[in-house]
Amino acid sequence: TDLEVTHWWTSGGEAAAVGELAKAFDATGNKWVDGAIAGSGGTARPIMISRITGGDPMGATQFNHGRQAEELVQAGMMRDLSDIAAKEGWADFIKPKSLLDSCTLDGKIYCVPVNIHSQQWLWLSNKAFEEAGVAVPKNWDEFVAAAPALEKAGKIPLALGQQPWQTTLVFQVLLVALAGPDAYQKTFGDKDAEFAAGPEIVRVFKAVDDARKMSAKSNVQDWNQATSQVINAQAGGQIMGDWAQGEFQVAGQTAGSDYTCLPGLGVNEVIQTGGDAFYFPKLSDPEKSKAQDVLASVMLSPETQVAFNLKKGSLPVRGDVNLDAANDCMRKGLAILAKGNVIPSPDQLMSADSLNQVNDLFVEFFSNPNLSADDAQKRFVDIVSSAD
Amino acid sequence: MNTSVSVKDLSLAFGTVSVLQDMNLDIGDGEFLVLLGPSGCGKSTLLNCIAGLIDVSSGQIFINGRNVTWEEPKDRGIGMVFQSYALYPQMTVEKNLSFGLRVAGMPKPQIAERVTRASEILQIGALLQRKPAALSGGQRQRVAIGRALVRDAEVFLFDEPLSNLDAKLRSELRVEIKRLHQKLGNTMIYVTHDQIEAMTLADRIAVMKGGVIQQLDAPQQIYNRPVNRFVAGFLGSPGMNFLEGQVEAGGDAPDFVARNVRIPLKGYGFGIKGAYTGPATLGIRPEHIGVNTGSGWPFSAAVEVEVVEPMGSDTLVWARLGGQNITMLVSSERSPRVGEMVTIGFDPMRASLFDGANGDRL
């Protein structure tokens, strides 16, 4: 049966990863009809939602798991996957458990998590530091200290794309790394405005201010353009999620020798368990529903998980798969995962609306040098206090 | 004479603007009626109402005894010719002529026959395959008439059909329309604001002003005995002379006095209201004033010639009488010179007297 799957994975590494899913699904005798929409979730999501609410749903669709699809589920437009989940024992092998929790609403499972993405990484170009004559830093502070040397060598210390979500990401990563997982939980999870106004966060804003200065010369829009600055040794480093690794791979670079990765910025080694998930809209055609079941289980099968995540540069959602092929950085991630140093993604904690406001704030902060760290923090406190 | 078109208590308003008021008009079978009036007086509007192109506000319209007030234009048995010809530019003359018949689904041989007949009558047989753009103004107008002709309409409506043509063509086509009417004998209603056309063509003329018919009568009657000052001034070119003054009691009949000029009104046929004294206007046509033609006139005076306008066969002479402009039409051969003193005179029988207040004929 043909099943249309919509997603916004169109970059080189991403498309290759999707290919693995499609291959596995096609192998079951069904057919994966690819409905890729380029341009990040912002472009793609309205189209997906329109189609679902417009009564012309696709077979399956990507969402960041978390609260993005909550209302669609509540409106009864998504299929309940509890039966097949129970049959296949998803609860047993999906790790960390929080992943499945965020697919669960009122005790029923509505989505299939396919990977774990962590944002808390600092990617460094070994060659850039070599040329600047400083050692490759081992944590954020060393990195900040090395910035003048990089600049002197004509390099941008920190590469940063101008898209709003990237600047927010920098803030979140610095928050988790410098203030620790608890501070993260307090601000994003508990929406504790008082805490957000406190000294720990002041320190975070100070660091964000540093990042702002270091990235002032970074003149690119897309995250992968920033990454390629690191790859080309034009920039010292980039704070970016593990998907950046795919770009290094495509460029033929090796972790350790060509580039260095510092999870948690080398300070607090934690991993955010956000990631992508697939949802299955309710369809009238029973054949298609059957195919949806097949796709759901294929996505979680150990082989697919390995193949998919190796290409995507993310971590599998199953704790029980063999990842011998994984590289240096991925192993670091797996290790952290094994230790259980995980935090939920902001998508799971805060509504898209509030996150958008946070986005707006940091976009403005990074583009407007006159907005002081103090003022930005005040505005952040406002957002936290009214967030839901 | 049977009535062919009959308009009963017709009123028409566009929104709040009333254009026609309680109009009644009976047009005889085979009559040539001309609607004459200044621009904006509602002539076209009346014609459009008769044609069914505008919905009337109240009243009724009968054509050949049939109440057609709410019928479609095509069902009224009328043909219409417009000022701008309104030929369909993308169709050949033949197509233009036959369009209405084709729409009505008439069989082809019959259409061909009618087109041939019309084009013979109008002598446009040679033009049948041309498009309107390749025709001269006069030819276009003929085609437009032909379009009404082929419909075998009982009533022809013309809305200023000649006013886009130059003087020469106009006079030629005027005669043709006259001939056509003599040949066909249809009822024709003809709108114009050219009084020469009205005079030459009409059996009866209806002079309109502000949506009201002022006078409905035979041309000569209207020309010689206009019912009011408006009608008097509207007809005639060069226009009637008007002298403002007073009617005062005189010798055996009242006199008309304008400043220092006293004109005896003996012989003037006062209307039903009888003799009158008070402010009045005396109207006299330029061609009814004699210039240097002896002293046989009941009234005569000496005036100085101010302007001389030769107009071909005749010459218009301007002078002042009682402090007011007065014009006289004389044969070009006997035209006086500017500055010359001439004796003018006229017969009050030929003049018209109008009430100074409302302009009605006295």
Binding site: P46, A352, D360, E364 | V68
Partner: protein
């Protein structure tokens, strides 16, 4: 002789065909434009998120809207862009039309050149100009490589200039059409007016300024409708060129609406913003449209 009805036929059935033929227009006007707008306004008073829900929260969305710096920037940008784009489009369009109207050679060639950008979508326009204005590849780079090292021209990367960068692209795309409209208007001016002005000894530019332009009022009205409706809706151009960046310095209301409706999944907020846009449009346009198209019958 038939006894035709003497009474007035039912009003509804007069002109029936015209009414039937207008059904698409009536439906569009009523269902889509009025209905859709009303629907949007109603839901702007709710706290709808991903899906529209009738959960009224009063003016909350509007309060938040006007407190949002992003919305303020968006409105400000639209004002700058709108006013400048109106002025420049009209001025440039008119000047070009006036030049083309001088009985010049190669008029067709010039006109095609000026008009072709209009055939391209905003996406394409945005992309090309993004590239030309890119300091690393585009104009700045070229001028620098010619030896003028300190030359800076990076409007799209300078928050205080970015809206002008967008304007450059917008004008490039749109002035051709305006020029065409103006040219058509100029061609409609009576030859005699020109001659009268020449006999009066009025210089060319004064003739344009004091005589011809005032005569072209209908053309300017049509042009204004086309321009203004485009300006209010400007979205693709910004997205293709800067995605609202750097930061939020090139945000525009239409983008705010879109982002809130679909990205932030806060339909209520998006609806509130679009209702604001609508309100502005209605306040400006309705009285004008009524005067222009409603009240009087055709001339």
């Amino acid at each position: 002789m038939s006894t035709a009805p003497t009474g007035r036929p039912n009003r509804l059935f007069r002109n029936l065909n015209a009414k039937v033929a207008s059904i698409p227009m009536i439906l569009t006007a009523v269902v889509i434009f009025v209905g859709g707008t009303a629907w949007t306004v109603v839901y702007s008073f709710t706290n709808s998120r991903l899906l529209p829900r009738l959960n009224f929260v009063g003016l909350e969305q509007y309060e938040r809207l006007w407190a949002a710096p992003r919305w303020q920037i968006a409105v400000e940008n639209l004002l700058i862009y709108g006013i400048l784009s109106l002025i420049f489009s009209l001025v440039i369009g008119f000047v070009l039309a006036a030049l083309l109207d001088q009985k010049i050679r190669f008029e067709n060639t010039f006109r095609s050149i000026l008009l072709y950008p209009f055939a391209l979508s905003f996406i394409v326009t945005g992309l090309v100009w993004q590239w030309i204005l890119n300091p690393d590849f585009g104009v700045q780079n070229v001028v620098r490589s010619l030896g003028w090292e300190s030359f800076v021209f990076d409007p799209l990367y300078n928050p205080s200039l970015v809206i002008y960068g967008i304007l450059i692209a917008g004008l490039w795309q749109g002035t051709g059409l305006i020029m065409c409209l103006m040219l058509a208007g100029l061609r409609g001016i009576d030859e005699d007016i020109w001659k009268a002005a020449r006999v009066d000894g009025i210089p060319m530019w004064k003739t344009y300024l004091f005589i011809v332009i005032p005569m072209m009022r209908p053309v300017f009205v049509t042009t204004l409708v086309i321009l203004a409706s485009g300006i209010v809706r400007v979205y693709d151009l910004v997205v293709a060129q800067t995605s609202g960046g750097p930061g939020i310095s090139s945000e525009v209301p239409a983008k705010y609406v879109y982002d809130y409706m679909f990205l932030a999944q806060n339909l209520g907020q998006g609806f509130a913003a679009s209702s604001m846009m609508l309100l502005t449009v209605i306040v400006i346009v309705v009285p004008w449209a009524y005067l222009e198209f409603g009240g009087r019958r055709r001339a």
